[in-house]
């Protein structure tokens, strides 16, 4: 009996340990973001009246709002372009085996590419095309990540029961295009939305491309945040508030796509 209890408790102990290891730093950051500047630096910690002053200051700061808006529009732009392209590609991979194995492999490997490899030629090309420090350039750069990711991820979406429904539609006289657009897409819409959110997050969190290809007018949040850490007098209270703002949208989206996250993270290897 004693052993049975231990056996039941042990998993909870393991999970509690690691959950607190995850939660503690995040909560600490939240705590720093909610204190005033004097208290933020105090060791041992001083607990004062929590307030939102840091957040107010962050949003009053034009440059931070700029980063936020840039990140938002680049992530939305990237997803809006990449998602339909990827859906069409994935559908024809799944249904018609277009391009066969080599093409799938090519799409997978572009997903595996270390970004530093791609960013150098993009930099040179953007320089020639005057695309450095433009939102268009940033969207193009993020498409190199999102498009292969989505294409690979969505292949698995279009396999399964949906085939039967499609065939029924085809027998009823629908063309291939009609079956794809009128039958498959609406049914798959929730899945596509979840995939789109993942692509949004990829772009929202991306750093290296943004570091090199963006500029004063197009800096995204990660670049903005990285420039907050400077020399003496780095204001960790403000920094924490800004960091919280950077991760908040992602956490808000989390429940919407929890179901599809595993598939996304494992590039469809695990369903």
């Amino acid at each position: 009996m004693h052993k049975g209890l231990l056996k039941r408790l042990l998993p909870h102990v393991v999970l509690l340990v690691f959950s607190s290891a995850i939660l503690f730093p995040i909560l600490w950051m939240l705590r720093v973001a909610l204190t005033n500047k004097m208290n933020a630096y105090q060791i041992p910690p001083v607990w004062g009246n929590p307030n939102f002053n840091n957040f107010i200051e962050i949003f009053a700061d034009n440059s931070f709002m700029g980063y936020f808006v840039n990140s938002l529009s680049i992530a939305i732009g990237t997803t809006l372009i990449a998602l339909p392209l990827a859906a069409a590609m994935a559908y024809s991979f799944a249904r018609y085996n277009t391009g066969g194995l080599p093409l799938r492999l090519a799409v997978l490997s572009s997903q595996m590419l270390p970004p530093v490899i791609l960013v150098l030629p993009l930099f040179s090309l953007f320089l020639k095309a005057s695309l450095l420090n433009t939102q268009t350039g940033m969207i193009i750069a993020h498409i190199t990540i999102s498009l292969p990711f989505l294409a690979w991820l969505l292949v698995a979406f279009f396999e399964g029961d949906i085939v039967i429904i499609e065939q029924a539609a085809r027998i009823d006289g629908a063309t291939r295009l009609q079956a794809f657009l009128r039958i498959t897409m609406p049914i798959m819409a929730p899945g596509l939305l979840a995939a789109g959110l993942l692509s949004f997050i990829l772009s929202w969190n991306e750093f290296l491309f943004a570091l090199i290809l963006s500029g004063p007018q197009t800096n995204t949040l990660p670049v903005g945040l990285s420039s907050y850490q400077s020399h003496r007098g780095v204001d960790i209270a403000l920094l924490s508030a800004a960091a919280i703002c950077a991760i908040l949208p992602v956490f808000i989206l989390l429940p919407l796509m929890k179901k599809h996250l595993i598939k996304g993270l494992s590039l469809g290897a695990i369903k």
């Binding site: 999970l15 970004p115 945040l225």
Partner: protein, 296 residues
């Protein structure tokens, strides 16, 4: 159905498939293949930021220079150490957490949501967050260990400590990836072998060794390979936390190439390095892909 109609159908399928794929492929070609070819060409030229054009063909000189580069082997070694250390520890922790999570019913969703959290946090935020916590004098970490009468640790200043600090932060950020993938694998395992083993009186430990591990093999390999390739991409954490230092302790290859390009201003040489890295990653990917398709 006669053969002519069938082949007509097939041709229609193929044409429709191509029609759907073409726009995406065209974009992929433009934004990925073309830049990669550009990098390949650039790697044979003296292309610098001071003189950014393909005027001087230098053949394999850039590659020779990369081989002569004093610290490139150190950097590759650091990368390998980093990838192995973080992926292996993430695997160990991830597997324990996955096993634990698979065996509980209460609070399962709660734990699961917490696990997902770090994966979605911006790596820049992760780096900044830990820098704040690990600051030698103003950070909470050294204060906490001082309460336990442990001397303060120079987390990012000492070469050895800095390497393991970066590994630890990467583990914090990524171990859930392993946990969640392995959990998905565990959840889909058949029940029958376990029931049979229990009838035979096998212990939980021997069930784990003889049933769980062999059945989980495919999932484990996929998870390891994916994390392996993703870990090679690491840049952000090092850029934010250590800039490759102290010494060469955390000088991973992505940051090494970044420096060659933007401190050394030598895009040609940096391109030669990236082409070499590309070949390594490509080989790993092909291996991964063959493995993944052999599972189907």
């Amino acid at each position: 159905m006669n053969t002519r109609a069938a082949s007509g159908l097939e041709r229609g399928d193929r044409r429709f498939g191509l029609m759907l794929t073409a726009p995406g492929l065209a974009v992929l070609f433009l934004v990925i293949i073309f830049p990669l070819l550009f990098a390949l060409i650039t790697s044979f030229f003296d292309y610098t930021l001071i003189n950014p054009n393909h005027d001087t063909f230098v053949g394999l000189d850039n590659y020779q220079e990369v081989l002569d580069e004093e610290y490139i082997l150190t950097s590759l070694w650091v990368t390998l150490k980093f990838v192995l250390a973080s992926v292996m520890i993430e695997f160990a922790i991830g597997f324990s957490v996955a096993l634990a999570l698979n065996s509980v019913t209460r609070f399962k969703n709660f734990y699961y949501l917490i696990l997902l959290a770090p994966l979605l946090i911006n790596p820049v935020v992760v780096g900044l967050l830990w820098r704040m916590i690990l600051h030698t004098e103003l950070g909470i970490a050294n204060y906490a260990i001082s309460l336990m009468n442990i001397d303060p640790v120079n987390w990012l200043g000492n070469a050895n400590a800095a390497f393991w600090t970066v590994v630890m932060v990467d583990i914090w950020h990524q171990f859930s990836f392993m946990a969640i993938l392995l959990l998905a694998g565990l959840a889909s395992l058949p029940r029958e072998p376990y029931e049979a083993a229990r009838v035979d009186g096998a212990s939980s430990f021997s069930c784990f060794i003889h049933i769980t591990l062999p059945l989980m093999r495919p999932v484990i390999i996929v998870a390891l390979l994916l994390r392996f390739v993703f870990a090679i991409k690491t840049f952000d954490i090092v850029f934010i936390m250590t800039k490759g230092g102290p010494g060469t302790a955390t000088d991973i290859i992505s940051y090494f190439i970044y420096r060659a390009a933007f401190f050394g201003l030598d895009i040609g040489r940096a391109s030669a390095m990236s082409i070499a890295l590309l070949l390594i990653v490509l080989a790993l990917t092909i291996y991964l892909y063959r493995y993944m398709t052999s599972l189907r």
